[in-house]
């Protein structure tokens, strides 16, 4: 097994996440894309932790924090999506244009 395999997979996942972030029209799907990007980061950290830093595994500590905070972010994100759905009755990103100059 090689480090590069994992890093390439992480890079691919990150790019898929960015694609979803830019093109999704559903706000919830945008949140999912952000989770994909965070997972890519985690895979990167874990791979480095295993191959470069196996005696100290700082990368694993880092990814535990990333997992924790990603969960908090998802909860807050969904709360905001719910609030906007109640007021606007849609989650289509293209319709959120009250604030434009």
């Amino acid at each position: 097994m090689e480090l590069n395999y994992f890093l390439l997979v992480a890079a691919a996942l990150f790019c898929i996440g960015i694609y979803g972030l830019v093109t999704s029209r559903n706000a919830i799907r945008v949140l999912m894309s952000i989770e994909l990007m965070l997972n890519a980061v985690n895979l990167n950290l874990m791979a480095f932790s295993n191959f470069l830093d196996p005696d100290d595994i700082r990368g694993q500590v880092f990814s535990v924090f990333v997992i924790t905070i990603a969960a908090a972010e998802a909860a807050v994100g969904l709360a905001i999506v719910l609030a906007i759905y109640r007021n606007r009755d849609t989650v289509d990103m293209e319709q959120f244009n009250l604030l434009k100059w």
């Binding site: 980061v41 700082r58 972010e73 604030l99």
Partner: protein, 528 residues
């Protein structure tokens, strides 16, 4: 590894100011739970008292003998102390202006205070964070509480939309930042402390590897989002317009100061190898911010949006100090941020007062305000003129200092752009002032004609008045008596070991080696 052994190494008293704020936060939460809704009459003052105590703790800890706490995770050096002071102070003024505003909208003040205090804690930790994990956690504490504050007016579609946009852009920019951080972790062979990263990189590479430049670009994206530099600014006008105004005030000062603290620490400590590249990137960001921020501000009709674009432009001015890469450069940046704190918060206090009395923030509605409310007109004029940089107000000295330092450092194009755009900015600031003092009664706007009688005795108006007068006096005085602030900023830079090490030796690789020894702490033995 004995526990007592670790406890003595932690040097935990360095985070006492943050500890005070966290205690305040918890007591506000508990009081709000136990006493109920009636407690909102005095919980804001508990919060203000806590933040003031935290400022006092910061004062006591100025220039500690051993600034490194938590085995390298946090640094309480003078630079971070000053930044933490700026953030705590901006939070105090924000609470003063938010009491009436939040009450008027019918939302719960207790939770608002708790989230605001958490944002303050996050910003304060971010200013001193010295390690990637700590930076990430502090950054997210600040960001997530900012998203919540932005969406706090939850029945208002504008507030919802602003919160959603802020959350999506913010979360993706922090994911991008994290990817850069993970590359840094890998490139340095498994280090997360900034100084250790720089030392390891310098040891193992004479030429900066491509990976480091990619990591730099990714990390810069995260920082530029926080300080809302163009082209990472798209969220700013929308969020500023849709958020409750006190939140906007906090975001434009406290959150932005935390972003600058992060920029200084991360760039100076972790990226000395690619110093040329980050200077190039930030020069581009500064020029774009100054031009776009100040030019687009001309076309705005909403006061909050205008101040949003103006704050983008101001971020560009502050970046000149960061780019000068000298003691004076960093000092001028701190000096300007201190002044900016007073004038910008003063401006927002006036906007809040006006919108509470008239229910609008259209610029055209301000015309003729002088006839009805001279005090508000005076305070707003002083703050706006100071933001525009009219002598003898504080903003003038701040800008002159920044431009002078930039010129000394040979950043001629940057300074020229700065001069031209600040002339443009004077135009739109003065336009508002001129509108407010028009003489003819027929030019008065509808809102002014129906202007309510000024009553400071109404509940909740006193703190607003105190905030107004305080920021107005501070803006005026810090122009005439700029010396103490100037000395403070200068001291903060001179006494910071991290910056000194970067500034002394121009050779990048030398720098990285030079910083590493004095701050390297003994990591705990993993084998136990």
């Amino acid at each position: 590894m004995e526990f007592s052994n670790v406890a003595s190494q932690l040097n935990a008293w360095v985070i006492m100011p943050e500890g005070v704020v966290i205690l305040t936060l918890l007591s506000v939460l508990l009081i709000d739970l136990i006493v109920g809704r009636t407690s909102v009459r005095w919980t804001p003052y508990v919060a203000i008292a806590g933040l003031t105590a935290s400022l006092g703790a910061l004062w006591l800890q100025w220039d500690p003998a051993d600034p490194i706490a938590f085995l390298g995770g946090f640094s309480g050096d003078t630079l971070s102390t000053l930044f933490r002071g700026i953030i705590a102070l901006s939070s105090i003024v924000t609470i003063l202006m938010s009491i009436t505003y939040v009450e008027r909208t019918g939302t719960a003040l207790g939770e608002f205070l708790i989230i605001l205090l958490t944002a303050t804690v996050g910003g304060m930790f971010l200013s001193g964070a010295n390690e990637l994990v700590m930076i990430f956690v502090a950054l997210e504490t600040l960001s997530i509480s900012s998203y919540l504050l932005t969406g706090y007016m939850k029945r208002d579609p504008r507030s919802n939309e602003a919160a959603l946009k802020y959350l999506l852009i913010g979360a993706s920019s922090s994911a991008i930042w994290l990817y850069g951080a993970s590359l840094l972790y890998g490139l340095s062979g498994g280090e997360t402390r900034l100084t250790a990263i720089a030392a390891n990189l310098a040891e193992n590479a004479d030429v900066p590897p491509l990976g480091l430049i990619v990591a730099l670009v990714f990390v810069v994206a995260g920082i530029a989002f926080k300080i809302s530099a163009v082209p990472f600014h798209q969220w700013t006008p929308d969020v500023y317009e849709g958020s409750p105004t006190p939140v906007v005030a906090f975001l434009s000062v406290g959150s932005k100061a935390a972003g600058f603290a992060l920029a200084v620490r991360l760039l100076a400590a972790a990226f000395p190898l690619v110093s040329e590249q980050w200077h190039f990137v930030f020069t581009a960001l500064a020029i774009l911010s100054m031009v776009l921020g100040n030019v687009v501000a001309l076309a705005q009709t909403s006061m909050k949006r205008m101040l949003a674009y103006s704050s983008i432009g101001q971020a560009g001015f502050v970046l000149i100090g960061l780019l000068s890469n000298s003691v004076d450069g960093y000092a001028s940046m701190l000096f300007y941020l201190l002044i900016y704190l007073f004038m910008n918060l003063g401006g927002f206090t006036c906007v809040i007062l006006f919108s509470l009395r008239t229910g609008t923030d259209e610029i055209s509605e301000y015309s003729g305000l002088y006839q009805k409310d001279p005090l508000l007109t005076l305070a707003f004029s002083i703050c706006l003129l100071s933001l525009g940089g009219i002598p003898p107000l504080a903003g003038f000295f701040g800008k002159i200092y920044l431009f002078w330092v930039g010129w000394q450092a040979g950043l001629y194009p940057l300074v020229l752009v700065g001069l031209i755009t600040s002339v443009i900015s004077i135009y739109y600031y003065i336009r508002v002032v001129k509108m407010m003092v028009v003489k003819e009664p027929q030019e008065m706007s509808v809102a002014i004609k129906n202007y309510p009688k000024i009553q400071w005795t109404l509940p909740g108006m006193r703190p607003l008045q105190v905030g107004l007068v305080l920021t107005m006096v501070a803006t005026t005085l810090s122009g005439i008596l700029a010396n103490p602030l100037f000395t403070l900023a200068n001291n903060a830079v001179v006494k910071t070991e991290m910056l000194q090490a970067t500034l002394k030796s121009p050779e990048a690789t030398e720098t990285a080696r030079a910083i590493a020894p004095p701050v390297a702490t003994t990591p705990p033995d993993p084998q136990g």
